[in-house]
């Protein structure tokens, strides 16, 4: 909370009186991504302080989790990050599996890679599209949703739902992939690869977009770490950290045998890693980094997401092959009333928005004694206040949008 400046004994001078305004941005505001409420202190267009207020979407999900069995809580995880519900399911499943020391069959492992990476693409497409909306460009949103719809169609075939899937569960998944699904998935990937350059043209390389995002909301690597930022927000600041590489073994072993890059600029050179991935028949060609862009600004955060989508495509392509090569059990769900040992388990996974951690304490009953979630968006949002000082009003959507927060995950 910004302290009152009335008794501030700084130099007093005469000036034309323009009022400082205290403005409520949200919770009903088109660009606060749900029900985020920002209280702005502004002098004309210049915003001096921003204070985020939370809690408008609080649904006691964690407390509910302490009254349900592990599998019953899966639908509640769907409603946390509702744009990447598959990855939420995965996080909870993994932590329960860690608690009960369950080992997933190999087919299920590849299935999970396919599904979670598809979820990542779907989520990043929304992030990309809504970021366009935040900056006043409507078309990328529709383009993003067109591709997302294709993914949702595939998800619908898998589990019958388009938003809240409850598909991945502790023990594996509720069902195996339907026959012929992988071919459709391949078809989607080929189509999607053709669309990515379009999206780059619409936003990444658009000069107005660059001028709106490059050099805005610059966050140093130090600051990103201090505030506990994770995911693309952290990597956008040049911190080489991705739980798919650096996470717990139980999580990283899911990606054993996969080849992909962590998208993160080298802080020394400012260059992104050279990829040897064949994309579109040619070697993957990143759009050039604009001159104005500074490592850690809004543009880099956006760019990291755009490139991560390509890496997800790459992972899915490999995963489909591996999935088809293996046969047998995909990992049947655990029992609905599976007893949880009196231990604690905590695990973080790399969700699209950052590290999503779940914490569970069992007490021998099938209902966990304690359930907590560590939200990536929550930590990412915490940098809003320091980043939004002395900026213009129009930069607030640009900065908040680049953090890509989902209020369902923050408030839980």
């Amino acid at each position: 909370m910004a302290t009152s400046k009335i008794d501030d004994p700084r130099v007093i001078e005469f000036d034309v009186r323009t009022d400082e305004m205290l403005i409520n941005m949200g919770p009903q505001h088109p660009s606060t991504h749900g029900v985020l409420r920002l209280v702005l202190r502004s002098d004309g267009e210049v915003v001096s302080d921003v204070e985020p207020h939370l809690g408008y979407l609080h649904r006691c999900a964690e407390k509910i989790g302490e009254n349900l069995t592990a599998r019953q809580w899966i639908p509640y995880t769907d409603r946390m990050d509702y744009l990447a519900a598959m990855n939420m399911n995965l996080g909870w499943s993994l932590v329960i599996e860690k608690l009960i020391e369950y080992d997933l069959p190999e087919r299920g492992r590849h299935l999970r890679v396919i599904i979670s990476e598809m979820g990542r693409i779907a989520s990043h497409l929304v992030a990309m599209g809504t970021y366009g909306l935040d900056l006043g460009s409507f078309t990328p949103f529709l383009y993003g949703f067109r591709e997302r719809e294709r993914i949702l169609n595939l998800f619908e075939e898998v589990c019958g739902a388009r938003l809240t899937y409850s598909y991945l569960t502790p023990g594996g998944a509720t069902a195996d992939l339907p026959s012929g699904w992988t071919d459709k998935c391949r078809e989607f990937l080929t189509q999607f690869k053709e669309v990515i350059p379009e999206l780059h043209t619409l936003l990444t390389t658009n000069s107005i977009f660059v001028s709106r995002t490059a050099g805005i909301g610059v966050m140093s690597a130090r600051m990103a770490i201090d505030y506990g930022c994770t995911g693309p927000v952290l990597r956008g600041s040049g911190v080489y950290h991705d739980l798919r590489f650096h996470g717990e073994e139980r999580y990283t072993e899911m990606y054993d045998g996969y080849v992909f890059d962590v998208i993160c600029a080298d802080p020394e050179t400012g260059k992104y890693p050279e990829s040897n991935y064949e994309f579109h028949g040619d070697k993957l060609d990143y759009p050039e980094i604009p001159r104005q862009a500074i490592l850690g600004d809004c543009w880099h955060r956006f760019y990291v997401r755009m490139l991560e989508v390509v890496q997800s495509v790459r992972l899915i392509e490999q995963a489909i092959e591996k999935y088809e090569a293996t046969s047998g059990d995909w990992g049947k769900p655990i029992k609905l009333i599976q007893k949880l040992p009196a231990k604690e388990a905590y695990m973080e996974t790399e969700a699209p928005r950052g590290q999503m951690g779940f914490y569970v304490v069992g007490n021998g009953d099938s209902i966990p004694w304690r359930v907590r979630a560590r939200s990536s968006s929550f930590c990412n949002l915490s940098v809003t206040a320091p980043l939004c000082q002395g900026i213009l009003l129009a930069d607030i959507p640009a900065i908040v949008g680049s953090l890509d927060v989902v209020m369902g995950e923050i408030d839980r």
């Binding site: 004994p9 700084r10 130099v11 034309v16 009186r17 323009t18 305004m21 304490v361 007490n363």
Partner: protein, 246 residues
Amino acid sequence: MDLIAVAWPYWHQFFFVLFAATAIGFGFGVLLSKNVVRMAFYLVLSLGSTAGLFFLAGAEFVGAMQLMIYVGGTMVLLIFGVMLTAQKDFINMDTHTQDWILATIVGGSLLMVLLFGAFGSEDWKTPQDITDAEVQATKEATPLGLALTGIRVDTLGESTDAVAEGKSGYLMPFIIVSIHLLVVLIGAAYMARTKKLSHATDDKSSRAKLMLFKMEHEEEQLEEEQYVVTHRAKSALNPLDSENED
């Protein structure tokens, strides 16, 4: 048909009365209104009606000028009004009796100067011999418009020496009005000025003050932190805690 043709004297007479009435009416509106923004709005309407008079007289250029400069200028006034009157005490301006008296004296003397300037030039005192028929036939007031911009239209045929000698049409009254507006603007800015915190802390004394200020408030902050620490509830029920104690 004759009735239609004769019943009303002239159609532009009607519009002249209309525009003149709106101009004067909204002029009084400016005087009597208490809200700054409404004043500016009435002023816009008054000036717009004046532009209408110019158009009616066929002086399109002067009319468009009137719209562009005066109405556009009032827009800036309006913006100032909006920006400066965000505070409650400025939204409604109550005028006291002494203000009225003072304003009448100042405004009246300015009006006197204005009238004197307007009727001062010899050639304009006596109306020229223009028949009604001629006035009707031309329907134009370009000479008037030119006179307002400082050209002696009545002496155009002779030479331009008159302009050089300073007898330049209505320019003088025009400038008086402009100065009047300027005075009003300065007055508005003066009324609206305030003590404002400066963010420039370059000189040493203010820096010292700033440091003192921070030091004073440091204790408060520490107290706050302390409060949070002491009041945080310890979770005694946690089985893991009890495990550790055992």
